[in-house]
Symmetry: C2
Subunit: 265 residues, 2 copies
């Protein structure tokens, strides 16, 4: 077990369920997590926040976290919308956007005329029948329909109840057009790889810390990273017997993860 974390040069942290819990009035920080982030920065390890949040811009998201006492800046965040923008630019894709109003500014610089693909995010109340039909007609009218999905979550919990996430609507468009969406966001390999590139480290030099056994832990491990599951956020005891994914460690929270890794370095 010793030296399990040798060679670690960077940490990637999931945000919701690791730094804070979403909920009433924007949620609440998880005890010890703000101090743990400060410890990472003091240790000299590189650090990147790796989130699937697509209901807001990184600016507003970071502002909320700073309000909770976290030392975090926009430049340290890897999120699906800017990752999608990179993909769009690289492949000269002009998107029709079916996303949340609050994430629109992330696509401000992207050419959206005469669309040749659809980008779908957690659009929430923008998921009207008219808007879905509009996105569908763009796709079905293309010779090679490209659907880029910002994550593939099934549902999430808000204070007024469970809500359908982007994955459900992605499936609706996949079925109607007989196509497969390209996922941007965890657990897509490309998404973790762009976070690693931004850090300038190799997969074997990085450790992912997350609460989602499949999306965070499984996704990072498939990229060649080590991964730790915290027992906060959406963690469930059954995760410790997951049939496919075995984290490199289970820890009670981010503070414990950081202590574990730093003491072994």
């Amino acid at each position: 077990m010793a030296a399990r974390w040798r060679g670690t040069r960077a940490l990637l942290l999931d945000v919701s369920g690791v730094l804070y819990d979403s909920g009433d009035g924007g949620g609440a920080p998880i005890a010890g997590s703000a101090e743990a982030v400060r410890k990472i920065k003091a240790s000299g390890l590189k650090l990147r926040f790796c989130t699937n949040e697509t209901q807001t811009t990184r600016e507003k998201f970071v502002q909320k976290l700073r309000g909770f006492g976290f030392d975090i800046s926009v430049a340290e965040v890897t999120a699906p919308a800017p990752a999608a923008c990179r993909v769009l630019r690289e492949r000269s894709l002009r998107p029709h956007l079916l996303v949340h109003d609050d994430v629109m500014p992330e696509f401000a610089e992207i050419d959206k005329t005469n669309p040749n693909c659809v980008v779908i995010g957690d659009a929430a109340d923008n998921f009207t029948y008219a808007n879905l039909n509009e996105a569908f007609r763009v796709l079905i009218g293309l010779k090679n329909p490209v659907l880029i999905s910002l994550g593939k979550g099934r549902y999430y919990k808000e204070t007024d109840g469970l809500k359908l996430d982007v994955g459900a609507y992605m499936k609706a468009l996949e079925y109607a057009c007989d196509i497969q969406a390209e996922i941007v966001g965890k657990p897509a390999k490309m998404f973790f790889e762009s976070a690693l590139a931004e850090l300038g480290v190799q997969p074997q030099e990085a450790v992912m810390v997350g609460d989602d056994i499949v999306s965070d832990v499984g996704g990072a491990q498939r990229c060649g990273m080590r991964a730790v599951q915290v027992r906060t956020g959406k963690y469930r005891p059954a995760d410790e017997n997951h049939p496919q994914v075995k984290p490199d460690a289970y820890v009670d929270n981010l503070a414990a993860a950081v202590d574990l890794i730093l003491q072994e370095l």
Copy 2:
């Protein structure tokens, strides 16, 4: 090839694309089809209209067809909504309905208190984010979630463009809840079987006439019926080389189908 239709006691006719084409101002009858229906009735063959229409009650649907000159009554129509009502009664299911306003009256007699299943139809503008979430919460709150879908169409054409059909939204709920919907309507075996039961004939005594190679022809053949594809409605030349389904005959339209079958009897 002779005597291919021997033993035929009943015909099942698809409606849209066989009797009439939907479109501007409610659509238009297909030439010769009204006369063909009269010929069937005069021949002594039993007759049933077998449709996946779920945007209206059978009453309004029949009224439109009578306006086109068809000899048709409500009692002769097999449609998904009344078939679903039979399933609901048999299994003591109380539905939460996510359907078109105009088909609601078909469920008037059904107990909808304290729902223990969801019935989804082509709800069109009723497919709001709020309504989808409501249906989703009913399902995810059930120990054994039952989702009954009135057909599984991907999309259809209206005068103002292509529109998503019930199948797309069925897939969204299937993914979100990790379940499989039960389809009521063509090509479900149960649906054809209920039409046969209503006619009082065996599958080998009946011939299905439809424009949909998979839903009409393939579905009927899987029930042991013979099936004819007409070259009207959504028929495409490529259907004549379909990899899975081979109709017992291709004919230009319903009039030709009826002449073919009656002359061989």
